[in-house]
Amino acid sequence: MIIDFHAHPGYSENLNALRAEFRPALRAAKHHGVDWICLSSLADWKESPAPAQVRKGNDAVLALAADHPEEVIGFCYVNPRQTDEALAEIERCVVQRRMAGIKLWQACAANDARVEAIAKRAAELKVPILQHAWYKTGGNGANESTPANVAALAAKHPETIIVMAHLTGAGERGLADVAPYPNVSVDISGGEPEAGMVELAVRRLGARRVLFGTDSPIRSYGATVGKVMGARLTVRQRNLILGENARRLLAGRLGA
């Protein structure tokens, strides 16, 4: 089983345009034998979208999941700066509509106090948080998480399942930051297919804490599948990374 833990529907605002944008992603995923795509909206792709934009983005993901119930599972994107609206959106999407995870991007760094209520709710609901993080040489965005920020969140909320996005963006330092916190895994999405990174993640975290994800449409399925198939791994490690870890974290929310 292959599960893409990290994908976005596309760049369009309008649902029908998004449906058209998403079609080639489904085709590419199928080409590589990907069984499930965990899809999260990034609303209007702005750092801190308004609540209406957040809801509209999640509605699009719900629609795509309804279009493709055997292939797509939704993650609920929220903006922690609007804490009450974020919690209400989690109620709507995760509790009522069975979305399987919570996506956090660049509205707040992971160690921001406003993320705490979301982390607590995720733990209660037993759904993972997919948190963007990166170490950028030129400096991160004002509210863009570093892996150290993710480690701080993980330390405070050991019951919350956190998947830190972007292995190559985290690099050696990011892996060292999160290694002590068993509630943090890393996805291999985003960045270029830099050789050795997947093996390094397995050495640092163990194969049970590394997940396949693409960041489609920003990155291609082929390049990302190639990171796993090109890495020196045992069959067991490869299967964990490609899908078994994700299935464990999604705890029964796959399919009907």
Binding site: H31, T137, T168, S220, Y221, V225, G226
Partner: protein, 252 residues
Amino acid sequence: MSVDAAAYVGAWPFRPIEGTVADLAGVMRANRVRQAVVSPLDGFFYADPSPANRRLLRRLAGRRRIWGAPIISLRMADWRAQLQALAEKRQVRAVRLAPAFHGYKVAKAQEAAELAAKHGLTVVVQMRVEDERHHPPFVKLPGVALGDVVALAAAAPRARVVASAARLGEVLGDAEHIRQLKNLWLDVSHLDGLECVKQARDAVGARRLVFATCWPFFYARSAVLKVDEAELSARDKAGIMMGNAEAAFGLG
């Protein structure tokens, strides 16, 4: 079967990456790559890449399907003599220029492109290797503009020019100019994004693209699967995987 237009041997100084010729041969076999055009990674970091080139050619000796693309710095006063000496080596099919690493403008490479053409060598212009966001803090190196490489190919129409490591957005941005040049090829090593190879093919035409892995810096498998996923016609795919590189590097 394919030709890898951009692979390397040697060491990358900022991460434990080391490519040996034996490992390269294994990666080629595993990915059905029949021929490769190979440069020395160390050469990017030497003011005079010659020692790295000599090491490369020693290591490649006796390898029938692995061609050398030694690196030349145009800031070395004797670059013309270096180029001429390399042209006499049977195994050398191209020279790789790294204007960002060695510190000169791509426009300065016109004479080198023409001289290379006179000697039957292809000129590869390295646009980048590592993602600019991951450069070590003491070496922040902006990439080379694809437009400058396009201008070089236009200014030296007899030269064969390969732009190495362009990103998809750059290719789409310069597509109109690229389409018009029959002496310019783009390697696919750094193309990424959903349907990247298909998008690049639609923008510049299948004949302008050459398969390349950027191994050992990248997983070679990523390049193979990226092209594979595009579900191109047999003719387009054969061109991108092999035929175009044979034309670009004059391989039989």
